[in-house]
């Protein structure tokens, strides 16, 4: 089973207020694959992501990360899962709350038990991967938005996750920062699930895309094929920007 980074089976979920967000999601990611998760607002994308590391407990169906079941009741197991699933949130400010970049990147591996030289190495390597090592002693608050997003990626990479989940990674980035981020992602040897509205960015980075709509996966194909199917896109409030051609 170790060749699968993620296996989601028949996952269904309703919020306490009765609103059902997921109606049986099936999704498998092989190790090293890069997959884009597309879908209109309110389709359940965030709800799905919150299941991958047990922030939301599984009500029905199952989620496995690298073969291990995500079970909100198993506190020890859950902690392990959270180090295997690295989530980069949309707003880097939600993620960066320590006084310096270095401390922020150290937060995850420290929680995993790393100390001393090992911790330092993890921090340094992660910051080098995103090209932000020179900023290690700076407060994240004083960095540009694009730099903060890269540090946010580093905070997650420092945990050496099995799977990297990115929520709208290209939002609010200027074109150059966007390309730099794309290059960083492409350089990583990691399983990636990227939630995005930016279809060109998905096309650039992911060979495979899935569309989540109305709480189920309605399409799971080659990204180019999905983006060419304009009636499928339109049906789920997706569309390529004007002037974009595959």
């Amino acid at each position: 089973m170790a060749d699968k980074s993620l296996e989601v089976k028949e996952l269904a979920f309703a919020y306490p207020d009765g609103h059902q967000a997921l109606y049986g999601v099936n999704l498998e990611l092989s190790r090293g694959e890069r997959v884009a998760l597309l879908g209109p607002n309110g389709a359940g994308k965030t709800t799905l992501v919150m299941h991958l590391n047990g922030i939301l407990p599984t009500m029905q169906g199952s989620v496995k990360v690298a073969g291990q079941l995500v079970d909100a009741k198993d506190k020890v197991g859950l902690l392990k899962i959270r180090h295997k699933v690295g989530i980069v949130f949309q707003d880097p400010d939600d993620q960066l709350f320590m006084p310096t970049v270095g401390e922020d990147v150290a937060f995850g591996p420290y929680n995993a038990g790393l100390r001393g030289a090992e911790l330092e190495t993890a921090v340094r390597e992660a910051l080098q991967l995103v090209g932000m090592y020179e900023f290690i002693d700076r407060p994240p608050h004083h960095l540009s938005f694009g730099q903060r997003r890269r540090v946010a990626v580093a905070t997650v990479l420092a945990m050496k996750p099995e799977i990297l989940v990115m929520d709208e990674p290209s939002s609010n980035l200027d074109p150059a920062s966007r390309r730099e981020l794309a290059e960083i992602v492409r350089s990583l040897d990691i399983t990636l699930l990227m939630v995005t509205h930016d279809l060109p960015f998905a096309y650039e980075l992911c060979e495979r895309s899935v569309i989540l709509s109305g709480g189920v996966i309605v399409a799971d194909e080659n990204t180019a094929d999905i983006l060419r199917n304009s009636s499928l896109l339109a049906k789920h409030r997706l569309e390529l920007p004007k002037g974009f051609a595959l």
Partner: protein, 224 residues
């Protein structure tokens, strides 16, 4: 420590309420001269912050947890006047919309928490700053001292109101002793959390700490 209805008799509640109103009036005037037309949005967002941070649970041990009261924290961050207004609004909203603290006791709660606590914090903070070395790391310590003193003092203020117009029969001395000693403990927690929060802020945005930016910084002037 929100007093509910029926704990202190009406005459006492009413007269303390009047004190609370006049205190708030002073805060309104002072805040307006200090913040100008920024008063409403800045004090409003400070109120939101206090309200939010009161919901942030700080685990103590074995499933118990406490939270920040925030009076001293707000005083150090935005100054006594805006802080007092923010705490008053938080108390008012809690009483009117969340049934937290009695309606007839609102005046008492405002007096104890947004006037006594804030004033004591402000005085203690200034005193501590005078004694401590004039360096940045003194600020969190001074803030901690202010927070530590302000909590038991506002509890003592409640005990005093109880002695004047309490409806219970427990002797005022016993109430005072019980309130004061428990709130010394709470004050320690408050002091620690306040100190940690202030030092976090001062390491990234020192300019946002009211108690620090009051220290005059002389800028270097270069000739063009």
């Amino acid at each position: 420590m929100h007093i509910p209805d029926g704990f202190i008799d009406l005459p006492t509640s009413a007269s303390v309420g009047l004190l609370a109103i006049s205190g708030t009036a002073v805060a309104l005037k002072k805040a307006r001269t200090e913040l100008d037309d920024r008063t409403a949005p800045m004090a409003g967002l400070t109120a939101v912050f206090i309200f939010a941070v009161q919901m942030l649970n700080f685990p103590v041990a074995a499933g118990t947890s406490g939270h920040l009261l925030g009076g001293a924290l707000a005083t150090v961050l935005v100054g006594p006047w805006a802080a007092s207004l923010a705490v008053t609004v938080v108390l008012g909203v809690q009483a009117l919309l969340f049934a937290d603290g009695g309606l007839t006791a609102l005046g008492l709660n405002i007096f104890n928490l947004s006037i006594v606590a804030v004033l004591v914090s402000h005085i203690c903070f200034k005193l501590a700053k005078r004694v401590l070395p004039k360096i940045r790391s003194s600020i969190p310590l001074a803030a901690a001292f202010a927070a530590f003193i302000s909590v038991p003092v506002s509890a003592a203020s409640f005990a005093l109101q109880y002695a004047i117009g309490g409806t219970g029969t427990a002797p005022a001395g016993t109430v005072f002793a019980a309130m004061f000693s428990t709130h010394v403990l709470i004050g320690i927690g408050e002091a620690l959390i306040t100190m940690l929060t202030i030092s976090a802020i001062i390491s990234t945005r020192a300019d946002l700490v009211y108690g620090w930016k009051n220290n005059k910084v002389t800028l270097e002037v270069k000739k063009a």
